[in-house]
């Protein structure tokens, strides 16, 4: 059972890692002027909800399997994702808004955020991997 939980979170985590990398690549494309802001934002906005769901899934999984430490580790990131999504002003076209992204260093802060998330997901990946192996051995 325990092993199954971690295998599931591992898969989830892999998906989130890929997503983070995708965010970083797309944002740096925009930075280097390979794609325009409109295309970049519509690409990224599509993946905001999946990311949110993936992150919450991992958090909920840890909660129900009562892994408190990992749950607490995941909680801030999950709540940040939700907060960010809810806080989008009505007139904006999603978390990534093409008319705003070049203003006030938003591009940089989005980039930084994606980087931090990538680091976080990598950390989680190893924690899940370790826990999974531990669980498998214990079984």
């Amino acid at each position: 059972m325990e092993a199954a939980v971690f295998i599931l979170s591992l898969v989830d985590c892999c998906a989130l890692i890929f997503l983070s990398v995708y965010f970083i690549i797309t944002l740096s494309d925009l930075e280097c002027d390979y794609i325009n802001a409109r295309a970049c934002c519509s690409k990224l906005n599509k993946w905001v909800i999946p990311e949110l769901i993936g992150q919450s899934l991992a958090t909920v999984l840890m909660l129900v399997s009562m892994h408190w430490f990992i749950f607490l580790l995941n909680l801030p990131v999950a709540s940040w994702n939700v907060y960010r999504y809810v806080k989008v002003p009505m007139g904006n076209m999603g978390v990534f808004d093409p008319t705003e992204i070049h203003n006030r260093g938003q591009l940089k802060s989005h980039m930084k955020e994606a980087m931090i998330k990538l680091g976080f997901h990598l950390l989680c990946f190893f924690i899940y991997l370790y826990s999974m192996i531990l669980a498998l051995i214990n079984d």
Partner: protein, 974 residues
């Protein structure tokens, strides 16, 4: 750095007002005295004149070239020695320099046909100098007489197309210009001294002996630059200058400054750029640029060339601030790459000589326009396409605006900018959308009604937008009958969203301009809105809600429009709340503009009608650029942080502007990413690529060069208080939308406090009591207070949400000069106008009254005062006003007869009336849009709008200027 921190402080300190910028030269050997004029402090003045080094004839434009192999930093060398007579010629020739930009913009860019004519003339006259026909063909001289080119750099291109070829036909090209007797220069003997070498422009730097002597005289004066004179704001009662506040002059070497871009086009908040971001942070002043790139200019050099010389790595256009390493190579001033000079560029079409790439117009003018070759087109240049979208619901018909619009259009149909390809179309909408088939050949316009708002389609896509010249009669018929067609309509709904979608569909194949006239909140179909304003909250001191859009529909549509090169201009004529915050998005992101006429009614509100008519005329006939993009480049190390204005930022430095108009201003905030060590100057270049209404692809390039400094006092000495205020206003608009209005107000107040704290702690050496500010920032607290009392940011005074939002839009896209009047109106006393100090323009005498402080204290009952807020003129007449003024200017017997609602001054045949009308007319000429005159007396309903602009006075909800200063002082000395 040595040279900059020393010698060139002084010029910055003595900001000469533009008109007096070039005084006659002092006696050559006269010792420079502190406080004497600008030129006395030039380092090269007392230096002995090694005449033979100097290269002559086209003199004024060239003496400043750096020595051979000089890197950029050589620009900071004191300019080469001059002979006294030459300096004289300098001042003479520079006298007219402010001219090109200060003249009324009646002489626009020459038309292409003129250009062609000029080209052929030039070719013929130069045909006698055989060697370079190829170069000539490809680099035709700019259209218009040579004076066109010469003016911006101070009349420095002597040969005119007509006589140049005949005057010096047989000389080898390299020497031509040198032998040329400079008809415009008073010093012909000088030319004999010049060694006839192709590298005439290479000059050895001034010797160390001369330098040190120059420095020693300078260091005496550099103690208290004028801009840094300490003022105690609490004690200085009258800080306003008598005339307009002049833009500070960057403390650049004179040769660079002479070539620099006009401050009306390109302005920086700090005319001295700090070396590092930390220094900038420490100064607490915002760094940014304010641009007015498409301004109507009276003199604009235009260059036709098959190759436009640009840096190969950063694509910067060649400009006056590049350095020529030798004749064949130039170094980019933005990325420092060394580029080759193309063969063609070696030939100078102006002086008709070879081997002088540094004298080409591109290198002599900071503002220049290129006719772009085909590489600059993604598709054939689009025709001018105009679509008018008219609201014909009951509410709209009631206001009577249709008559005005149709009448204006009829009158200006022939003066719409365009050529034979110009297309026009009309759509009207209420709860349905009415298209008009105007196909040539029809006997009368056909109305096609689409009632399916869910899925908009175009009934006859080919005949809705028609060629104006072919279908002019049908268009006229339609415009004549349109106002009557809907007089009996009972339809109250408005389907603006679907109508805009239809317009987008119609325009997307070509691109162009959509003009929307809307009189109410859209209520049907996509983009329908609900009223969000609570009238009871208008005067609340609490936070203002609903400053951001309610839906993203208009923004998305605007971005779609932007992608298809369609711009949407919005004319709002509404008495009710119409959610400008949401509707404005359609213009904001498609590079359109928003015009707002609150409480518009043709009969009940004649002032508004008059303004609407005049504005429409200007709007329809002004210059327009289609499918434009603007790129703002800056020297490596600087980057753009935030953009302000109406456009879509397509990539980090590229603004997409489907339309560009001469009344649009832009602002950008800059940050310093890498330290600018080892740089003496940085440059900024704004390049606007657009399709003219004649279907020509053109590039207008503006380049500005600014010094880099590393001391706090230099940063403060170069602060431009007006530019700072305008940039802060834009930033505050952003802040009030993303955060809240009170946040924005606090931020603006803190900006003033922080900068004064920073000044106190890092520049002031002697601490005195009081609120101390440098002279260049002495108006800062006043402007900040004015900003807090501006309609956009004020609290406590009843302000309609739409008025507020419109003011915010204006703060973001108006050019600086109009913006300043919006923030801090000008007040003049009119009843004692005299001809003393009057301007003389085209034989008209325009009196120049003193600008007064905005305080009731300055008003007196026996006077009449004019307040200029940019969009309105208020003429306040005192109760016991001078009877002569009442008689001679207003044409009434006594105060009681002063009309309550009058927007015109009677044309009386008296000297007083002539003076007053000349002054008001002159004010109006300077604006693109028409400021309406309101006559105000005690009982006038408009009196409150007049009194609200008395910024220095206390109101129930806001501090007086003195109280505000005390508040700032309290914070500063904490």
């Amino acid at each position: 750095m040595f040279f900059f921190s020393g010698p060139f402080q002084i010029p910055a300190a003595h900001h000469p007002p533009p008109q007096q910028g070039f005084p006659t030269m002092p006696q050559p050997k006269a010792p420079p005295l502190p406080g004497q004029d600008y030129y006395n402090s030039r380092p090269y003045q007392p230096a002995p004149p090694p005449v033979s080094q100097y290269h002559g004839p086209p003199g004024p434009s060239t003496p400043s070239r750096p020595p051979e192999g000089a890197a950029l930093h050589n620009h900071s060398m004191p300019p080469p020695p001059h002979t006294p007579p030459l300096s004289n010629s300098y001042s003479q020739h520079l006298q007219p320099r402010p001219g090109p930009y200060t003249q009324p913009p009646n002489q626009l860019t020459p038309t292409p046909s003129q250009g062609l004519v000029q080209t052929s003339v030039a070719y013929n006259s130069a045909a006698m100098t055989p060697p370079f026909p190829k170069a000539l063909q490809s680099s035709a001289p700019p259209p218009g007489p040579a004076a066109n080119l010469a003016m911006p750099v101070g009349g420095s291109y002597p040969p005119q197309p007509g006589h140049a070829g005949t005057s010096y036909p047989s000389l080898p090209p390299g020497y031509q210009s040198m032998q040329a007797p400079p008809s415009t220069l008073p010093t012909p003997p000088l030319t004999q001294h010049y060694p006839p070498q192709p590298q005439q422009y290479h000059q050895p730097p001034a010797g160390p002996a001369q330098l040190s002597s120059a420095l020693s005289t300078l260091s005496l004066q550099s103690q208290t630059p004028e801009a840094l004179l300490v003022l105690n704001l609490l004690q200085e009662r009258n800080l306003l200058p008598a005339g307009p506040v002049p833009a500070p002059t960057p403390c650049l070497p004179q040769d660079l400054q002479k070539l620099n871009c006009s401050p009306e086009v390109f302005r920086s908040t700090l005319t001295s750029i700090p070396q590092t971001q930390s220094l900038l942070n420490k100064a607490k002043l915002p760094l940014g640029l304010l641009l007015h790139p498409f301004k109507d200019l009276s003199q604009l050099p235009v260059v036709t060339s098959s190759t436009i010389v640009r840096c190969r790595s950063c694509r910067t256009y060649i400009n006056p601030f590049v350095s020529f390493l030798d004749q064949r190579r130039w170094k980019c001033n933005l990325c420092y790459r060394v580029n080759d000079v193309p063969e063609e560029f070696m030939y100078n079409p102006v002086s008709r000589s070879y081997g002088e790439p540094h004298k080409r117009p591109e290198v002599q003018n900071a503002t220049i326009e290129f006719i772009a070759p085909s590489e600059y087109m993604l598709r054939p240049p689009q025709p001018a396409v105009y679509l008018f979208l008219l609201d014909v619901s009951h509410n709209a018909v009631e206001t009577g605006y249709l008559d005005v619009v149709c009448q204006s259009l009829l009158e200006n149909l022939n003066s719409l900018p365009g050529d034979t390809r110009t297309k026009i179309g009309l759509i009207t909408f209420d709860s349905m959308i009415h298209f008009y088939n105007l196909q040539d050949g029809l006997s009368q316009p056909q109305m096609l009604i689409v009632s399916d708002l869910e899925d908009i389609f175009l009934p006859t896509p080919d005949s809705l937008l028609v060629n104006l010249s072919e279908s002019k009669e049908l268009v006229r018929d339609l415009l004549k009958s349109l106002p009557q067609m809907f007089t009996k309509t009972m339809e109250t709904h408005s389907a603006l969203g679907p109508a805009l979608q239809a317009a987008f569909k119609l325009m997307s194949p070509t691109g162009g301009r959509v003009t929307v006239f809307q009189t109410q909140l859209p209520t049907l179909g996509v983009g329908a809105l609900k009223s969000r304003e609570d009238p009871n909250q208008r005067a609340s001191a609490k936070d203002v809600q609903h400053l951001s859009p309610a839906t993203d529909f208009y923004k998305k549509l605007a971005l779609d429009c932007s992608g298809q090169q369609v711009a949407v201009d919005l004319f709002m004529l509404s008495a009710q709340y119409c959610d400008l915050a949401t509707l404005g998005c359609i213009s904001r992101y498609s590079a359109g503009s928003v015009y707002f006429y609150p409480s518009y009614h043709t009969e009940h509100n004649p002032a508004q009608t008059e303004r609407f008519q005049k504005d429409l005329k200007r709007y329809l006939t002004r210059k327009i650029g289609f499918e434009a993009v603007m790129r703002i480049r800056c020297t490596k190390g600087l980057s753009i942080h935030t953009f302000h204005g109406n456009f879509f930022v397509r990539s980090t430095d590229l603004l997409s502007l489907p339309n560009v108009n001469p009344d649009a201003g832009f602002a950008v905030q800059m940050s310093i990413e890498e330290n600018l060590v080892d740089m003496q100057v940085v440059s900024f270049q704004a390049a606007l690529l657009y399709t003219s209404s004649k279907g020509e692809r053109r590039i207008r390039v503006h380049t500005m060069c600014l010094p880099v400094v590393n001391s706090m006092s230099d940063i403060f000495a170069g602060a431009d208080v007006q530019a700072i205020t305008c940039l802060l206003a834009s930033m505050a608009v952003d802040r009030s939308v993303t955060a809240s209005l009170s946040d924005a107000r606090d931020a603006v107040t803190n900006a003033a406090i922080d900068s004064l704290v920073s000044y106190r702690s890092s520049v002031l050496t002697i601490q005195q009591p009081g609120l101390l500010a440098p002279a260049c920032l002495c108006l800062f607290p006043l402007y900040i207070l004015a900003l807090l009392k501006q309609r956009a940011f004020r609290t406590g005074t009843s302000t309609r949400l739409d008025d507020r939002v419109f003011a915010m839009y204006q703060l973001k896209y108006q050019p600086l000069s109009y913006l300043m009047l919006m923030i801090h109106p000008a007040l003049y006393r009119l009843d004692d106008l005299t001809d003393e100090g009057a301007l003389n323009i085209n034989d008209r005498t325009i009196p120049q009254p003193r600008a007064l402080q905005l305080s009731v204290e300055k008003l007196s009952r026996d006077g009449a005062f004019l307040m200029d807020t940019g969009s309105d003129l208020y003429l306040w007449v005192g109760k016991s006003c001078n009877p002569t003024f009442l008689n001679q200017v207003l044409g009434v017997q006594n105060y009681a007869n002063v009309p309550l609602n009058q927007n015109q001054l009677p044309e009386l045949d008296t000297a007083e009336s002539a003076r007053t009308r000349a002054f008001i007319g002159w004010i109006r000429e300077q604006r693109p849009f028409y400021p309406v005159l309101h006559l105000i007396r005690d009982e006038s309903p408009m009196k409150s709008s007049f009194m609200q602009n008395m910024i220095e006075d206390r109101t129930e909800s806001a501090l007086s200027y003195y109280e505000f200063l005390l508040h700032v002082q309290q914070q500063v000395s904490k």
